[in-house]
């Protein structure tokens, strides 16, 4: 195993731990992006460019957009709920 591969594997382990440890969903989405990037590097150094390309499009474009929009919707509903309560 080369140094690059060991570095990529440890990067994935670190970023995955980071996703679990982050508690705020909004920052978790960003850490998830970093995790996706580290996974992309892993696939790339293990000579699977096709998989790396799939991972990069899903983790940088596909997933975050959906999570961020869902978070916005949840946040809005919570705010509307708080506004209604005092009345």
């Amino acid at each position: 195993m080369t140094v690059l591969q060991i570095a990529a594997l440890s990067g994935v382990a670190l970023a995955a731990g980071g996703v679990v440890v982050t508690s705020d969903p909004l920052s978790q989405t960003l850490v998830l992006g970093v995790f996706g990037m580290s996974l992309t590097m892993l696939f790339f150094v293990f000579q699977a460019p096709d998989v790396a390309l799939s991972e990069i499009v899903v983790s940088t474009v596909g997933l975050p957009v959906m999570i961020l929009l869902a978070l916005r919707k949840v946040h809005e509903q919570r705010r509307e709920g708080e506004q209604e309560e005092p009345d």
């Binding site: 293990f46 096709d50 390309l53 499009v57 899903v58 957009v65 959906m66 869902a70 919707k73 009345d87």
Partner: protein, 253 residues
């Protein structure tokens, strides 16, 4: 359950999981020492029999083309599910003034971000088309290129003009792309059945390896998948955006 009980339960589970993982990985062949016969045969025939220099695409769209039909319809069905669950409900209504929503949406988009999006959109579209049509030559193919293609119109959202994005990517056109791509891919398989006698057998001229139009039906299959994926992702994103930006619960009080 108290914190100590949970932690000790976790320690027990983690130790067991770790043990199984170490035992399982111990006997794996080292990286680069693959011994499967099927894979080694495929490695040899990709260029000679299929004229495709990217073996992964040859596998996806030709040798195991039937598997990709299933994968395609997984995406197709999930997007149908999103449309069904996020359909307009009776007590919901869309923001009355679409113009107002257009203007105040994402007001924080700076001039720099808008200019950047202008550069980004054609770049994404070009890269997307490139990845889709070069699937059989270089890494990539219909799925990866399709998501990049779909991300192009998403750049309009970055400029703060969500409703303009809806103008550029009208829903009926996206649904048509999704359906045509999914159906077209299955039809390519039928073409193999009709012209070669086997479902998904390559029935088009193979051409010269490394050329744009080579490897038989893989190019067309890649374009079909690209259409389907870009349509599917744009439908999913716009459903989510409708929910986040336009749809409101009933506010009668």
């Amino acid at each position: 359950m108290s914190r100590t009980v949970r932690l000790s339960l976790f320690a027990l589970a983690a130790a067991g999981f770790g043990l199984v993982l170490v035992l399982g990985f111990a006997d794996l062949p080292a990286f680069g020492h693959y011994h499967g016969v099927y894979g080694q045969i495929l490695d040899g025939v990709g260029v000679t029999l299929r004229h495709a220099t990217d073996l992964v695409t040859a596998l996806n769209f030709d040798i195991r083309g039937f598997d990709t039909v299933g994968e395609e319809f997984i995406l197709f069905a999930s997007v149908l599910g999103i449309m069904l669950i996020l359909r307009g409900l009776r007590e919901e209504h869309q923001e009355p003034s679409q113009h107002a929503a257009d203007e105040h949406m994402f007001a924080g988009a700076s001039e720099a971000l808008r200019a950047f999006a202008l550069v980004l959109i054609p770049l994404l579209l070009t890269v997307g088309v490139y990845i889709v049509v070069h699937g059989q030559i270089t890494p990539g193919g219909g799925f990866q290129g399709g998501v990049v293609l779909g991300a192009g119109p998403l750049g309009i959202f970055l400029t703060g003009r969500y409703l303009r994005m809806k103008v550029v990517t009208p829903r009926p056109a996206m649904e048509l792309a999704d359906a045509l791509g999914a159906g077209g891919y299955a039809l390519i398989g039928l073409g193999g059945l009709i012209f070669s006698g086997v479902f998904f057998k390559n029935f088009l001229p193979l051409g010269i390896p490394g050329h744009l139009l080579s490897a038989g039906h893989m190019d067309i299959a890649s374009v079909a998948v690209g259409l389907e994926v870009s349509g599917a992702f744009l439908i999913a994103w716009s459903e989510f955006m409708d929910q986040a930006i336009l749809v409101r619960g009933d506010q009668r009080e």
